[in-house]
């Protein structure tokens, strides 16, 4: 992947493929502690995104803005506005820059996390996507190296973060209605965050810088 708009478009395409592949898994996770639609919601959203990617923009930020508004207007549920905000804030952070750098990627991830928290008011430990995104941002910031290295660190940490939601009792979102019974299941939003970051990291493999 290149670190310009074309590369970002390619990364979004692989993210869409990953969502498609894991749709049933995300539905099943949401069935356990939610309402069984998370995979379907994201699939609907990323399918719409795919149809908008051609000529989505000349800069990474412009592309991510199209992704954001498409997700907001097609995903629905809690995940729609949250992921929409995440991509929107990342886009805003990147501004009009034409090429991603490891630093700008970290800053964009950080902005995404802040957006999700601002919108959803969840804290770490509430068993939400924040529990994947928070360690991901920290790991990305601590990592050194290329965009690919930063994203790999983020994805690894997000994987672990998603895994760590299993024993938690949910305090936000639909899973919170279950109280204690929400423990013992992975949070679907944390899992999808980890999947998206992994897709971006894989797409960035061998990218420069």
């Amino acid at each position: 992947m290149t670190c310009d708009a074309t590369g970002v478009i390619a990364a979004i395409r692989s993210a869409a493929a990953v969502v498609d592949e894991h749709r049933d898994e995300l539905v099943d996770l949401d069935r356990e502690i939610g309402d069984a639609d998370h995979g379907e919601n994201l699939k609907r959203g990323f399918t719409a995104v795919l149809s908008k990617l051609d000529n989505a923009g000349d800069t990474p930020g412009a592309v991510l803005k199209v992704v954001a508004s498409t997700l907001i207007s097609t995903v629905g549920g809690a995940a729609g506005p949250l992921y929409g905000t995440a991509f929107l804030r990342a886009a805003a952070k990147l501004g009009t820059t034409g090429t991603l750098t490891p630093e700008s990627v970290v800053d964009a991830l950080d902005a995404a996390l802040e957006g999700v928290v601002a919108r959803g008011k969840a804290e770490a430990g509430d068993k939400t996507m924040v529990d994947a995104l928070t360690p991901a941002v920290a790991a990305a910031r601590a990592a050194s190296g290329s965009v690919a290295d930063v994203l790999k660190a983020a994805a690894d940490a997000a994987d672990q973060g998603a895994q760590d939601t299993v024993p938690l009792v949910a305090r936000k979102g639909r899973a919170s209605y279950l109280g204690e019974r929400s423990a013992g299941h992975m949070d679907p939003g944390a899992r999808s965050t980890a999947l998206l970051l992994r897709a971006f990291a894989d797409a960035a493999q061998g990218a420069t810088p």
Partner: protein
Amino acid sequence: MKKIINDPSTVVEESLRGLAAAHGDILKVRTEPAVIYRADAPVTGKVAVISGGGSGHEPLHGGFVGLGMLDAAAPGPVFTSPTPDQVQAAVEHVDGGAGVLLIVKNYTGDVLNFETAAEFASADGVDVRTVVIDDDVAVKDSLYTAGRRGVGGTALLEKIVGGAAEGGYNLDECEALARRVIASVRSMGVALTACTVPHVGEPSFVLEDDEIEIGIGIHGEPGRRRVPHQPADQLVRTLLDPVLEDLPFASGDRVLLFTNSMGGTPLVELYLAHGIAERLLAERGITVERRLVGPYVTSLEMQGMSLTVLKVDDEMLRWWDAPVRTAALRWGA
């Protein structure tokens, strides 16, 4: 999964087509984004009342669009909140210049999507107010949860506020009345069986032959606890006691009692349960002033029921009794 559908991904869209065909005198439907709105919208000078949410709870909300109730409803995919575009389109279709009241059930997704739409509409100069209904006592309300869910009370709220808007209330008055209704209504539900979401194809949870789920939501999400099935007398008490203790309701109170089917429970059982609830309220010295019995806030084909009790006053009764002409509720018009 056996359902009368063609394709899980087009269920809502095809269903809306049938709704429009069935009730052309009452409502219109537009797609992309999907909105159900009053056939005579916008009604100039009237506060527009808009609600919406995931599909699969019919007749909520689309069946409540019409004179004296909702001006528009934004139907999301099955059990998934609608997107901001839908709500924005609803506002555009029905804004009559007197402001818009958004009635939102308290789910993270609904709240966030309506919130976004409200921001856009406000930016366009529309006076938009949002009220969030959270009547389900099965869920703990605290700073550390998503709070109570909006369930059966939503139908009562939409009727009463819709009636007042039709009757000439301004936006402030509509909002104040809505907040009072929300503060006065409590609900609790039970599932005897699960429901199957079309795009999932399997039941959302599994209940054994002798198990029921107390404190069920309306999205096939599991409830608070599983208990053995019980006789109706006891079951109705299991639902009613926490509702009454919550507000609390006390002897001398006047109430509206809403006995709601989750969809698959037949009327013969629902009326039986309603009769028990009436008796229990009478025993407590609570006067039932009005009642609603039927499948109004449902969860697809789920078997089960909910009880909603609203502490009423003369103002609420006046707008409850006011004429309404929708697909699902109709009187005086």
